[in-house]
């Protein structure tokens, strides 16, 4: 590897993550531009757009990704042309900018995969052509150095200023405020929460030092906070001038206003911290064991030690929760990406689709968010291309011509629910049935309830469309959607109503990594099962065992509970008689199973490590944990074991 390659390699992850941020800005502003034909309200957005592209260009140049550098450069020219000739060239240019964003994503993705970048010459030529159509624009010198002291000097921002009251703020930085973390950037963010900064000028004071003079076009009703004065921000008391037109920021722009005191954290570093917390949890449980041994010898200071140990446990729990909270990000960003995808699909198919969001502020683990992007995208695409009927069909069915797709997120305890609902035709049961018959997968009783339909469409190779269309042909299949959800410890559900629409629900854990678990013994092996997945533990002696062909079951709460003897499933020699041991009841109301273990060892807080290496991925095992003796124990995947059991039970009764 050459020196320059090594240099680039060092920063490539930074590059990817920063580009992701700027691309999100690009998408947000492009959508806002499209919604706002006059362009007046999005002037600030235009500057933001230009800067995002400019930064992508600069960074792509540094990492030697010429394709991205060139596309970003071309798009910058396109953005400037829109600014110059708003009406003449706008629709065509906007379309090209959307295409450019797509191409940029592809170019950057190609680097991620170490693949060849997409060709860009044709795109550059098209953009040049479109810009050329703006009368007199050809060869015009690019002039974008703003004048001294007035950075946002564009006409349109002046227009929006006229609509609101102006207020002057003076900020004098000091070493003391700086040490507290308050600097001019903090102040800038405060002021952005009040309105638009139209002027920012440093002035040298006679007694030395600098004062920053800000002029802010205030949003209606915006008020500075008195506490800011303590950090060196000054303003004269003022009246809000009553005006007819409020200078309200558009939603998109408000969403862009950075929250004060935001810090970007590398996820890998956070994982390191989490690992350290995990190690501390482990050390503490060793301490537990020592204290217990001391107790048997009646040593004097043992009580103090116990107290300290308990305090440590509480603090560790808090620390762990604190770190986990840092990992949470709002799901709204992912929703925004869906808007973009739906827009593209609607344009390709000519359909009219309305996309609604609810609960975009719901926070979810960053890793989960990243892993859910593709599956969500697939479900939304499915809704648009398979769910929503054609305009004629909709009108004939008495529905509004405009199709609706809703994305909802909400937290329920320690789970997150994501719903993707459309008001289309629902899953085509007849098609699913005929395909199921073709593949020999049709249940004997011929009933196609939602659960069965979901199982069928999630079977690899199952597709009710004869040929993949553009919309859902890309990306992942339903089987991969479900695997992705399950890999994160979640589950996928379906509710389909013929003629009325379909709703997919993804249920996910809010956070990962640490859980309370029951430690059990299976043969000679110690294993763990998360307490949350347990419904009940029943001693074998209290149950009446019946055998049916190769299956064992017990009557349980008025029903029958199929049993899985984990020792024999895993091939471990069992250490207890068949009518001894304990049954762990797991599963949902509709699908339950009893896992038979040899012994119970107690409740422990465990740090969960995913087992991701293909050499050791095994059905029924979701991960591993390290217990106090340093030995690794496997964690049982209750959901997978239930699925396996129900499948087998079905198989044998057929």
């Amino acid at each position: 590897m050459s020196d320059s390659e090594q240099f680039v390699d060092q920063f490539i992850d930074d590059y990817f993550s920063e580009c992701d941020e700027h691309l999100a800005t690009v998408r947000r502003v492009l959508l806002a531009l499209e919604d706002d034909p006059s362009g007046a309200a999005t002037q600030g957005g235009m500057l933001e757009l230009q800067r995002a592209l400019h930064t992508i260009k600069g960074l792509s140049g540094m990492v030697g990704l010429a394709a991205a550098e060139q596309v970003a450069h071309t798009m910058e020219d396109g953005v400037r042309a829109i600014g110059k000739h708003p009406t003449v060239v706008r629709p065509a240019l906007l379309e090209l900018l959307f295409a450019g964003e797509n191409l940029l994503e592809q170019a950057i993705a190609s680097r991620r995969r170490h693949g060849a970048p997409p060709p860009t010459d044709a795109y550059v030529a098209r953009m040049r052509g479109a810009i050329g159509h703006g009368a007199g624009f050809v060869g015009a010198p690019v002039q974008h150095v703003p004048g001294m002291g007035l950075a946002l000097s564009s006409d349109a921002s002046v227009v929006s200023v006229e609509a609101g009251a102006r207020q002057r703020f003076d900020f004098t930085p000091s070493a003391a405020a700086s040490a507290r973390g308050t600097g001019v950037e903090t102040v800038r963010r405060w002021l952005l929460s009040l309105g638009e900064i139209v002027e920012a000028t440093p002035r040298v004071r006679a007694e030395g030092g600098v004062t920053f003079e800000f002029v802010v076009a205030m949003r209606r009703g915006a008020q500075p906070i008195e506490e800011w004065r303590a950090d060196g921000l000054e303003w004269a008391d003022f009246e809000v001038m009553p005006r007819e037109a409020p200078a309200d920021m558009p939603d998109a722009a408000r969403a862009a206003t950075p929250a004060a005191n935001l810090v970007r954290v590398d996820l890998a570093r956070l994982d390191d911290v989490m690992r350290m917390v995990g190690e501390m949890v482990l050390t503490r449980s060793r301490l537990d064991a020592v204290i217990e041994r001391m107790a048997s010898r009646h040593l004097g200071e043992q009580e103090d030690l116990e107290e300290a140990n308990e305090a440590l446990e509480r603090q560790l729990r808090n620390l762990r929760e604190g770190v986990m909270r840092i990992r949470l990000v709002p799901i709204g960003e992912v929703f925004e990406r869906m808007r973009f995808a739906v827009r593209e699909m609607a344009r390709e198919s000519g359909a009219v689709i309305r996309l609604d969001f609810e609960g975009g502020a719901t926070e979810i683990d960053k890793v989960v968010v990243d892993r859910m992007l593709e599956p969500l995208m697939h479900l939304v695409r499915n809704s648009v291309s398979h769910g929503i009927e054609s305009r004629t069909q909709r009108l004939a069915a008495g529905k509004p011509a405009e199709g609706r797709v809703s994305l909802r997120a909400r937290a329920a305890g320690d789970r997150i629910m994501l719903e993707i609902e459309d008001d289309g035709a629902g899953l085509d049961a007849a098609r699913v049935a005929s395909r199921a018959r073709e593949l020999g997968l049709m249940p004997r009783n011929g009933r196609l309830d939602d659960e069965t339909m979901l199982d069928l469409v999630c079977t690899p190779g199952f597709s009710t469309r004869d040929q993949a269309d553009m919309g859902s042909g890309r990306g992942v299949g339903m089987s991969v959607v479900r695997s992705a959800v399950r890999a994160l410890g979640g589950e996928l559900f379906l509710q389909s109503r013929a003629g009325l629409g379909a709703c997919f629900t993804i249920e996910l854990p809010l956070t990962l990594m640490i859980a309370d678990a029951i430690i059990v013994q299976v043969g000679e092996q110690v294993m763990a099962i998360p307490q949350l997945s347990l419904r009940e533990i029943v001693p074998m002696e209290e149950l009446v065992l019946t055998r049916m062909e190769n299956n064992e079951m017990v009557s349980y709460r008025g029903g029958v509970l199929p049993l899985v003897r984990l020792a024999s499933l895993f091939g471990f020699p069992t250490t207890v008689a068949a009518n001894r041991g304990h049954v762990l009841v797991v599963g949902s109301d509709s699908q339950m199973a009893g896992l038979v273990v040899d012994r119970l060892q107690g409740l422990r807080e465990i740090v969960m490590h995913p087992i991701s290496d293909p050499l050791v991925t095994v059905t029924g095992v979701s991960g591993a944990t390290e217990l106090a003796d340093g030995r690794v124990s496997l964690i049982l995947d209750a959901a997978a074991l239930v699925r396996r059991t129900t499948r087998e039970a079905h198989g044998s009764t057929r």
């Binding site: 890793v367 471990f572 095994v618 591993a624």
Partner: protein, 163 residues
């Protein structure tokens, strides 16, 4: 793989059933004593289980079993060599590993065809170090998974990258 400007890579030498093997230092994360291994049901026969290495749980391959030799109980001289390849970390269990050596690129010959003990597919080549014959191991081939069901491969492709 790029060859160093000097034309020589550094290797760690390990012993297995009386023969000397070499692993490139660049492929190696660390060396550990063999600790407690937890067997994983239904894993390939050459996988002795999983173990915890600095906060991560990773599989351990018995190189003896991988090469078709008889397994022997581990002792104080046994080592876990943690290798990294293609984003995966895996432990290799060897009889011992104590030496480092630099092997010039031009001293490496292709593996002989009729090598009796092990299949040559795990070898990148061989070299003579003084009197000794050293067999250079191919980490990619050692870690290759021969059979996984479609569900397993789907799931692993989408598992979160925690490590």
């Amino acid at each position: 793989m790029a060859v160093r400007a000097s034309g020589a890579d550094s290797y760690i030498l390990c012993e297995l059933a009386g023969a000397t093997y070499a692993l490139r230092s660049d492929d190696i994360e660390q060396l550990e004593m063999v600790g407690l291994l937890t067997p994983v049901p239904n894993a390939p026969s050459f996988v002795d289980g999983v173990t915890s290495v600095r906060g991560r749980v990773i599989p351990a391959i018995s190189l003896r079993a991988r090469f078709g030799f008889e397994r022997v109980p581990t002792d104080l001289r046994s080592r876990l060599i943690v290798v990294r390849h293609d984003g995966r970390s895996v432990c290799l269990i060897v009889d011992s590993a104590r030496e480092f050596a630099t092997i010039p690129a031009d001293a490496i010959q292709p593996p002989p065809d009729g090598l009796a003990e092990i299949s040559t597919r795990y070898l990148r080549g061989m070299a003579h170090l003084g009197e000794r014959l050293v067999l250079l191991l191919d980490v990619a081939e050692l870690l290759r998974v021969t059979s996984t069901g479609p569900e397993a491969s789907d799931a692993t492709a989408l598992l979160p990258a925690f490590s």
